[in-house]
Symmetry: C2
Subunit: 196 residues, 2 copies
Amino acid sequence: MTLIETTTRRADTDAPLIAPLIERWSPRAYDPAAELSEQDARTLLEAARWAPSANNLQPWRFILARRGDPAFTTIHDALMGFNQAWADSAAALVVNVAEVADDAGTPRPWAKYDLGQAVAHMTVQAQHDGLHTHQMGGFDGARLAEAFGLRDGLEIVSITAVGKVGDASALPEPLREREVAPRSRKPIDELLITAA
Amino acid sequence: MTLIETTTRRADTDAPLIAPLIERWSPRAYDPAAELSEQDARTLLEAARWAPSANNLQPWRFILARRGDPAFTTIHDALMGFNQAWADSAAALVVNVAEVADDAGTPRPWAKYDLGQAVAHMTVQAQHDGLHTHQMGGFDGARLAEAFGLRDGLEIVSITAVGKVGDASALPEPLREREVAPRSRKPIDELLITAA
């Protein structure tokens, strides 16, 4: 059994970042016995809820399903590629939905940006609460939109697996290798744009 | 002199959120004497840098200008509406840029969502470091893109004012009132989509 410790996956930085930021990473090996309590689920939603947004429009919606719920199976069945091979061990799947247009069809240009902030708040809080998260972009959005009856203007942007880290040796091989690969990011100099 | 204490602007929730999430709010009154140190600026960029992104593409870029830098004036001059009336007291302005398409023109559909996460990481870290942030959507993006020579595919999504909370009584009246208005969010039930 191979449990990949959070401490071995810390961000490679000397900056004094808060623990949930420095320790956060995106595992694929989840403990298939761990559950997400009602209280923990509510705390995650509260973290998202208090994120900032353009004109405080809060253009974020969520579908939260625990392993064992019919909705969990619906979401899992819509995952693509390798995601199906591991995400069934997560304690919950959260579908992250941006309100890109309101009921009347008026666009909300900051919806995806604001949703990203709300999900970041959720993942940072999860990390603090001893949970891990892994966001996925590979899924059949049209199928999910139909299954959950989403109106026009609600767009599924990502799906977050939430759970406790589990046995990495249970992962299929290409994923097992990725689970322990060094974490990397561009250097700060490549992120900074300076005056022309 | 009216300093609005962070404690009076806490999120109205009983959930055990981490301090930077529960205490974060978006002031407009900044201390015009406070400065952002090189070390603090670097820490904010490191917080953003380690955010997750689709395929680890890190589609975020930043322009960071301190009060007194020529670039600060360039950015401030492009702000719209009431933003110009208060943002000049911020210690720094950070232009948040999404790489919505790469050099070859290939779209990056998660760019704004991922940028939102990176900026959220930055604001949460700032809050922990005793700094406040206020993100703005009102600015002349075309003017800034030209001033900083942004290539096609780089889109300015928001501008963050960073600084220390200052004297709220120095704000013009409509803003002064907003500075102390109760914070509000939709209830969780309105954010949740359940199975159809």
